[in-house]
Amino acid sequence: MSLFQTLVPSFARNTPADSNGSRSAVPARKPTYEVKETPESYGLTVQLPGVTKDALELTSENGQFRISARRSWQQPEGWTSVYRESNDAAYELVLTHDNAIDAEKIDAELRDGVLRVSFPKTEAVKPRKIPVA
């Protein structure tokens, strides 16, 4: 088994909820996301269907940007589930960066289940044109 875990490292890993310790053993799911780069900033788009603004938590520290979100919808009383494809598990996404972004100016917007975050680059890493004299 240990050899197998060496070959396939993800099987030996903890879920983020476990390794954090403070959270209960609710399994978290990694949402679909996309990172784009422009000369001025990085744009992150995360699909978080069923998440409202109050159930969403964004934290940025030590070069880690963490998104944790839970679904606010619960199956109402009297509803029987006939067929299910979606998952009630919470969302958790952790991205690491090298602090070349301006943490004060991170801008986030949640609309129709899609979270868009823009990370402006710090002045030092922006491309600069140097005029030739």
């Binding site: 490292p9 983020p16 422009t38 992150l44 069923g50 494809e85 690491t96 070349a100 289940g113």
Partner: protein
């Protein structure tokens, strides 16, 4: 092999231009990292491990229940006494681009996600998605309503009177 700078200093300016991959995928600490502490967490193999993980995630995607068909989306079917409810996860779609149809007891949800042109993408990007599911019972097709909230579409379909469970009281003489 590297070139020494004239006064023995490394060429610092070169590092600043390297701006690729600022945001990288988070990789969870593995058993080796827990055993040897944070100093050993970046093993020479860590990049390779990520590659292996990615390979397995792609290969096992079907078994893990992940939807691999990109034109689909997860759909749930619920029932209560008077209604059948269908919930579909459609994040980031405008209401006018969602279409709900009922033909012959099949409910079809069609949606188009439109991403506006920005950055290097010159034209608007449109991505059609569609799901079809058979309804378990007869519904009143003219009384169907749909709501879209937080990226989830909920279609409420009232059941036909005859398909509702009926209580018949029989008087025993």
């Amino acid at each position: 092999m590297h070139f020494a700078a004239p006064h023995g200093h490394p060429p610092k300016t070169l590092n600043k231009t390297n701006t690729t991959m600022r945001i990288v995928r988070y990789s969870y600490p593995n058993s080796r990292a827990r055993a040897f502490g944070p100093a050993f967490s970046r093993t020479p193999w860590s990049g390779f491990e990520t590659e292996i993980d990615r390979l397995f995630e792609t290969a096992l995607g079907d078994f893990a229940g992940n939807r691999t068909d990109p034109t689909g989306f997860p759909v749930d079917l619920f029932e209560n006494k008077d209604h059948t409810h269908v919930r579909a996860e459609l994040p980031g779609v405008n209401r006018e681009n969602i279409n709900v149809e009922i033909v012959d007891g099949f409910l079809t949800i069609t949606a188009t996600r439109k991403t506006p042109a920005e950055g290097d993408a010159r034209s608007e990007n449109s991505f059609p998605m569609s799901r079809s599911l058979e309804l378990p019972e007869e519904v009143q097709a003219d009384k169907i309503s749909a709501a879209y909230e937080n990226g989830i579409l909920t279609v409420t379909l009232p059941k036909r009177e005859e398909s509702k469970p009926r209580k018949i009281s029989v008087t025993v003489k």
